[in-house]
């Protein structure tokens, strides 16, 4: 089997979710990685060094310096027929591009796979992870996006893979990149963070989130929130963890003043370790928590901060 991975990178290194995708791809067969960008020699050599990669295809041109679906799709289509599977990370990059590719190959994509049974059978979460479907594709080319948290990152170094330059494919210009504005924060991004500290309605107001931020900074964690906290205006929408917000699976999730509505649990219940701090011992969050502490967050969180500083 020849497997193509569409790499996401920032011009100097592969994104973490691409490393997870490469691991998934290696379970299926020989891995070729497509790297498209303005100037990405360093990315190509990083990918080539990985034990899990067999070949690197490099498409360098200014038109690929920003990942527009409209320019990446014709490039991917130009090589797609050489592969049995095309994989991309289920990041906003992969989710944007892969379905466009899939439709033009006239194949039905399978989104966010979390396990590989064989070359055509995969597990994927549905209903925000409240059920797992095992699905089988009979398509000639399987187009898959990969949920990063379900596969280890490919880091092992092996004999260097061949790097081959490929022709760029120009397309009619129907869209244009203007700018990106990355959230400036010293904290890790919510979907990438190893530890997340989230607050709910129990936080009472937005100012009190400073308590969580202090704990987060001691742990190198991201800060999240429940929908109730977002709807109450405590924090903005991009903090929201839940079925209609971000779905995350960090190593450690600390839920503070969060009752544990279904819609929130859907977004965090795959976390490795869950801690709940809530004054209501009947709160449903305790049913999914590995460690529960029944208490008033306004006394417990300062104690937690003090304990972590020791």
């Amino acid at each position: 089997m020849s497997i193509l991975v569409i790499a996401e990178h920032d011009g100097s290194a592969l994104k973490g979710s691409t490393l997870n995708t490469i691991t998934a791809a290696a379970e299926l067969g020989d891995v070729t990685v497509l790297i498209a960008g303005g100037n990405c020699d360093t990315v190509a050599s990083q990918a080539a060094k990985l034990a899990a990669t067999n070949k690197i295809l490099l498409a360098e041109d200014e038109i690929y310096s920003t990942p527009l679906a409209e320019t990446f799709t014709p490039l991917i289509l130009s090589i797609a027929r050489d592969f049995s599977h095309i994989l991309g990370p289920a990041s906003t990059f992969g989710k944007n591009i892969l379905p466009r590719v899939s439709a033009l190959l006239d194949v039905q994509q399978i989104s966010e796979i979390v396990a590989i049974h064989d070359s055509d059978t995969f597990d994927r979460p549905i209903y925000a992870g409240n059920a797992i479907a095992t699905v089988q594709s009979k398509e000639s080319i399987k187009v898959l996006t990969v949920r990063a948290t379900a596969f280890e990152a490919a880091t092992e170094v092996g004999s260097p893979a061949e790097i081959a330059k490929i022709e760029i494919v120009t397309a009619e210009k129907i869209s244009e990149f203007i700018s990106t504005e990355l959230t400036k924060s010293d904290r890790p991004e919510l979907t990438q963070a190893k530890i997340v500290v989230s607050g709910g309605r129990g936080m009472q107001n937005g100012e009190n989130f400073i308590m969580l931020e202090r704990v987060a900074d001691l742990l190198g964690a991201a800060v999240g929130a429940s929908r109730a906290a977002v709807d109450s205006g405590f924090v903005s929408n991009d903090y929201q963890v839940g079925q209609t917000g971000k779905i995350i699976a960090p190593e450690l999730y600390i839920a503070v003043g969060i009752s544990g509505a279904i819609q929130h649990l859907a977004g965090m219940k795959d976390s490795n370790v869950i801690v709940a701090i809530n004054k209501d011992e009947e709160a449903p969050i305790f049913q999914v928590a590995d460690y529960g502490l029944v208490g008033d967050l306004f006394t417990e969180i300062p104690k937690l901060e003090a304990e972590l500083q020791k």
Binding site: E70, V135, E176, T180, N272
Partner: protein, 249 residues
């Protein structure tokens, strides 16, 4: 300007879903159904453009069983002008949905087609991008802000770690993310008015689209459940457990 919005009837987001005992799918009998939350945002965006005078007509389309007409009525009550219902009791995959919507787009010739970024039942997040591909249109996915002029759409997109601004030639596909707007509740007079609005009824074969499945669902199971946790007595014990038992800090 003409806008089409696609809406899907799904299990309400507050319902705790149950896997069928024979592992063939999800229990949907006698379960509360609602408009997919991201589609509500799509309708709201369309209604706002309609109210601002930028759009003259807002058409809402849904594909699904007879009850999908209730979902269309909800959109009509929010302010859409008319509906199109493609009736089928089959579960239809995103590629087939995109092919059906393409036929609608070619007939209706909208300047903008707005969809939710994903349905909260199958969580595919594919239909909008596929529709854009099949039509050869530009796509502004996961939109958190949309501004229009006569020939372009400026879209601020939610990307991992921040925001991206792109400019699209019209006609274009937009898929909605959470921050785009807060959908309104339909008022009672508008719900009454919506009952008189027209819903055109079609079936997939009217559009000559093959809706047969490409993917077989072999089984659907509950995710592995978490083992019961412990209640700790205080913060000191909690931090100790996290350090020495779970080894996560």
């Amino acid at each position: 300007m003409k806008i089409i919005v696609a809406v899907k009837r799904v299990v309400d987001y507050n319902v705790k879903i149950r896997v069928k005992s024979d592992n063939t799918g999800i229990e949907t009998a006698n379960i509360k159904m609602s408009m997919n939350p991201f589609d509500e945002i799509a309708v709201e965006e369309g209604v706002r453009l309609r109210e601002s005078g930028l759009a003259e007509e807002l058409v809402v389309v849904s594909i699904g069983p007879k009850q999908s007409q209730e979902t269309i009525r909800t959109a009509l009550a929010m302010g859409a002008d008319r509906g199109i219902h493609i009736q089928t009791d089959e579960e239809i995959e995103p590629l087939s949905i995109a092919k059906l919507l393409k036929e609608i787009a070619e007939k209706e010739k909208p300047d903008l087609f707005i969809l939710g970024k994903q349905a909260i039942d199958d969580d595919s997040n594919q239909t909008g991008q596929m529709l854009a591909a099949l039509l050869g249109w530009s796509q502004g996915t996961f939109a958190s802000k949309l501004t229009l002029d006569t020939s372009n759409a400026n879209v601020i997109r939610e990307i991992d770690g921040g925001l991206e601004t792109i400019k699209l030639n019209l006609p274009a596909i937009i898929t909605t993310d959470l921050r785009l707007n807060t959908p309104r509740y339909a008022s009672l007079p508008n719900i009454m008015k919506a009952k008189k609005k027209i819903i055109e009824e079609l079936v997939p074969s009217d559009l000559n689209v093959d809706i047969s499945h490409r993917i077989n669902t072999l089984k659907v199971v509950e995710p592995s459940s978490r083992e019961a946790g412990v209640i700790v007595k205080d913060i000191v014990e909690l931090v100790d457990k996290l350090k020495n038992e779970a080894k996560v800090i």
